[in-house]
Symmetry: C2
Subunit: 418 residues, 2 copies
C-alpha cells in the first residue's frame, strides 16, 4: 500500500472545527488508496501556554520536566484527530512518541532522532488501520523519559517518519499555500513556485523564509524525502502547493529562484584588530562558547602599519542575530580583558537587514553577482557586507532599504515570470 | 526511610502559585525526614476542557482516545510540581503512568489497578531523589495504551501508591479542612472529626459527602491505608484534618458519628404489581441492564385480593438518582410492553431527599432507629422509605424538610460534642 505522511501545524488544528477540516484532507488521501501517517502539532497557543507556566515556575528549568510538560499539547491533538477520523469512518488511532517508539538522543529540549522502528505502526496498518496519528515534536530518550525536538520539531518529525516508512511524499499543511519567490507582503509580484530544489529551500529557510524549519529540509534532503508545502485552509489537490524535491525532478530551473530577506540582523565590527595567525579563532571561539550564531564574516585585509600599531592590523566585521548582540559584546569584552584579543573599538550596527538571492542555477551560470550588485546600485542601496555560497549571494544593507532591495532584485531576475 | 503519599486535587494545583503552595507542604514533609510520593490532579478546569473537546469531536468516542487526551492534564501538573520542588532545592522528578508503570486493566475510562511495581521509583529514591511526583488518574493497559480510572481517579491513585509502597499515611489535600459530622452549610453546629473509621467514611462518601470518592475509601479499607483529609489552603501540621483509619485506632466512638444527606434522589413506585416469586428479579434486572443505580428498595407486602387482580398484589418502591428517572421509566415501560412485568401505574416523586445517620457504634448499640424516627416525628417530618445497614439508617423524606431533618438529627445525637 502506498504511504503518505501528512503534517498539520498549530493553526491547522487550532480547534475541533479545524481538526475536522484537516481530517477531511486525510480522509481524501485514504480514499485515494493511501495508508497515511498524520503528524500533528499542538493547538496553536497551547505550547506557548505550557512554556509560560514552566518559565514562571522555574527560570532555569530542568529540561526533562520542560519536555514532559510541553509535549502534552501534541498528545491532545493526536487523540482528537484520531477521534475525528473515526467519526468519519476512517480506522485511525493516536500514537504518542513513547508508544511508537520515536527513539531520540537524551538531549532534552533539543533531541535528535536515533531511530523510528516501524514494527508497531506497521502491525496496526496490517490489522486494517488506515491512519496512524502521531504526536509531533516529541520522542523517547534512552532512559525512558520524554524528549522534545526543539523549534519546528513537528516538521522534522514528519520528515523522519516519511524517511523511516518510505513515504511517497511528506505533505506539510500550513497557513500559506506554498513557497514563494519572495515574501508576498513585500511585493505583490511574488510568485508561488511549483517546485524548488532541496538546496534552494534550505538556503531560503535559513535566510528567513519561515515556511519550513531548516532542520526538516536538511533531513528531507539527506533522505530524499519529497516534501510538499500546501495550505490547510484551501481546497487542495495533488498538484497544490510547492514540491520540494531533488533537483533531478526539476526540468529547467531559472538561475535565481528566490529572494530572501531578514531584518533580525546586526553587524558588529571590531576596529583595528591585531592581524596575526590564529586571530580569527581567538575571536570566534569565545562567540561560539557564548552561544552566538555568527552568520556572515568579512575581514578587511590591511597591509599598512599604523603609528601606534607596529604590526599589521585589520578590521573584522560579522553579523549576528539582533537578539544576541549583548551576548556577543560581552564575549568580546571578556576576551579582550583576558588578553586573548586586542581591538580599539567595537562598533554595533543594529539597523541592518540581510537580502539574498538563491538558485541552484548559479552553479553553472556566471554574472549573477554582477547583476545583483547593479540592481542594488541602480537603487542607490549601499552594500555593507557580502557573503556567497555555491547557490546564494547575501548582502547586508541598511534596514530601511530592505523592501526596496527585495523588489529591485525580484524584478532584476524576472522572478514574476514562470 | 519512612514514606508518605500526598495527593493534591485540581483546586490545590490550579495555577503556578498554588502549585508552589502545595510544594511547600511537600518540602516540609521532606524536611521531617520522609520520602514522598506526590499524586497530582490536573489544574482545575483543564480536564473539563479536554472532555469538552472530545465530546464535541465524537459523541460516541473511542475510550482509548478519550483516555489519551484527558490524561494529559495530569502530566502537565506533574512536570510543573517537579520543577517547583527542584526550584526549592528538593530533588524531585515527575512520573507519567506508563513510566512507573501503573499497570491497569484495559477497561478504558474506567480502568482498575493491576499492579504498581516499585522498582523504578525505589531506584530513584535510592539515587537520592526525595520526591516522586506521579500524574494521578491514569495508567497503562496491557496493550501499551493509556488508561484513565474514572471519576475521583486521583484519590484512588494516591491510595494505591500508599498501599504499594507501604506508606505511613496517605494525605489527601483538598479545599476543605476535614470530614465533618454533617455538611457545615446545613448547620453551623457541624463539627470536624479528628478520626473516623473506614466503614463510616465509606457510608458517608456513598451517601453524598463529597470529600472523598467512595472507591478510594474502599481501597484504603482493603489495604489498611491510613488516609488523612486536610486543607491545601491552611497552615497544617501533623494533627490537622481528619484521619480515616481502622476502627481499632479509634479509642471511643460515639454511636452515631455523622449525618449525611443527598438531594439528588427520586422515588419511583410501581403500583399494584403482581406479587409472585421472581417478580423482584423481573423488575430490577431491566433496570440494571439500563444502567440505573437503584438505591433503596421497599416492597409493601399485600395479602388482600383486589377485585380485578385475582392473585396477590404488592406495591414496589425504589429510589434512583434523579438524573436516571427517565431511563428507569423507559426500562419499566419496555418490560411491561414485553410482558415481563405487570403494574397498574408508575408514580415518580422527584421531590425527595435522603437523610442518613452513620456510626460503627450502631453495631453494639440498640435504639438508634427509634431515636432517629422520634427526632424526625418531633419535627413532623414524614418518612417515605426506610433502609438500614449494619452501621447506617437512611430515610427518604420530602426534599423541603432535608435541612430541617439534618439539623434535628445532628442535635438528637449530640454530634456537636466531641
Amino acid at each position: 500500500m502506498p504511504l503518505l505522511v501528512m503534517k498539520f501545524g498549530g493553526t491547522s488544528v487550532a480547534d475541533p472545527d479545524r481538526i475536522k477540516n484537516a481530517a477531511l484532507k486525510v480522509q481524501r488521501e485514504v480514499e485515494r488508496g493511501y495508508d497515511v501517517i498524520v503528524i500533528v502539532s499542538a493547538m496553536s497557543g497551547k505550547t506557548n501556554e505550557l512554556v509560560g507556566w514552566v518559565e514562571q515556575t522555574s527560570p532555569l528549568f530542568d529540561a526533562r520536566e520542560y519536555d514532559a510538560v510541553v509535549s502534552s499539547g501534541e498528545n491532545v491533538t493526536a487523540g482528537l484527530m484520531a477521534l475525528t477520523l473515526q467519526e468519519m469512518g476512517v480506522p485511525a488511532r493516536s500514537w504518542q512518541g513513547w508508544q511508537v517508539p520515536i527513539n531520540t538522543t537524551a538531549a532534552y529540549s533539543a533531541a535528535r532522532f536515533v531511530d523510528i522502528p516501524r514494527k508497531n505502526i506497521d502491525q496496526k496498518f496490517a490489522e486494517g488501520f488506515k491512519v496512524a496519528v502521531v504526536a509531533g515534536f516529541q520522542g523517547l530518550s534512552p532512559e525512558g523519559r520524554i524528549t522534545t525536538l526543539g523549534r519546528g520539531g513537528s516538521d522534522t518529525t514528519a520528515v523522519a517518519f516519511a524517511a523511516a516508512f518510505g513515504a511517497e511524499r511528506c505533505d506539510i499543511y500550513t497557513d500559506v499555500d506554498g513557497v514563494y519567490t519572495t515574501d508576498p507582503r513585500i511585493t505583490s509580484r511574488a510568485r508561488k513556485l511549483d517546485r524548488i530544489a532541496f538546496e534552494e529551500m534550505l538556503e531560503l529557510a535559513s535566510l528567513g523564509a519561515k515556511v519550513l524549519q531548516t532542520r526538516s529540509v536538511e533531513l528531507a534532503m539527506r533522505y530524499k524525502v519529497r516534501l510538499r508545502v500546501l495550505s490547510s485552509f484551501e481546497d487542495t489537490d495533488q498538484n497544490s502547493g510547492t514540491l520540494i524535491c531533488d533537483e533531478d525532478e526539476i526540468m529547467e530551473s531559472k538561475v535565481v529562484n528566490g529572494v530572501a530577506s531578514s531584518r533580525d540582523e546586526a553587524k558588529i565590527t571590531l576596529v583595528t584588530v591585531e592581524d596575526r595567525p590564529g586571530i580569527s579563532a581567538a575571536i570566534f571561539a569565545p562567540l561560539a562558547d557564548a552561544g552566538v550564531n555568527v552568520d556572515m564574516i568579512v575581514q578587511n585585509i590591511s597591509e599598512k602599519d599604523y603609528e601606534d600599531h607596529p604590526g599589521s592590523v585589520t578590521d573584522m566585521t560579522f553579523s549576528v542575530p539582533i537578539n544576541q548582540v549583548e551576548r556577543a559584546k560581552r564575549a568580546m569584552e571578556d576576551a579582550r580583558q583576558a588578553g586573548h584579543i586586542a581591538y580599539d573599538e567595537l562598533v554595533v550596527d543594529t539597523e541592518v537587514a540581510k537580502v539574498s538571492v538563491v538558485g541552484i542555477g548559479m552553479r553553472s551560470h556566471t554574472g549573477v553577482a554582477a547583476r545583483m550588485f547593479k540592481a542594488l546600485a541602480d537603487e542607490n542601496v549601499n552594500i555593507k557586507v557580502i557573503a556567497t555560497s555555491e547557490i546564494k549571494i547575501s548582502v547586508l544593507i541598511d534596514r530601511k532599504y530592505m523592501e526596496l532591495a527585495v523588489q529591485a532584485l525580484h524584478d532584476a531576475f524576472e522572478l514574476e515570470k514562470a
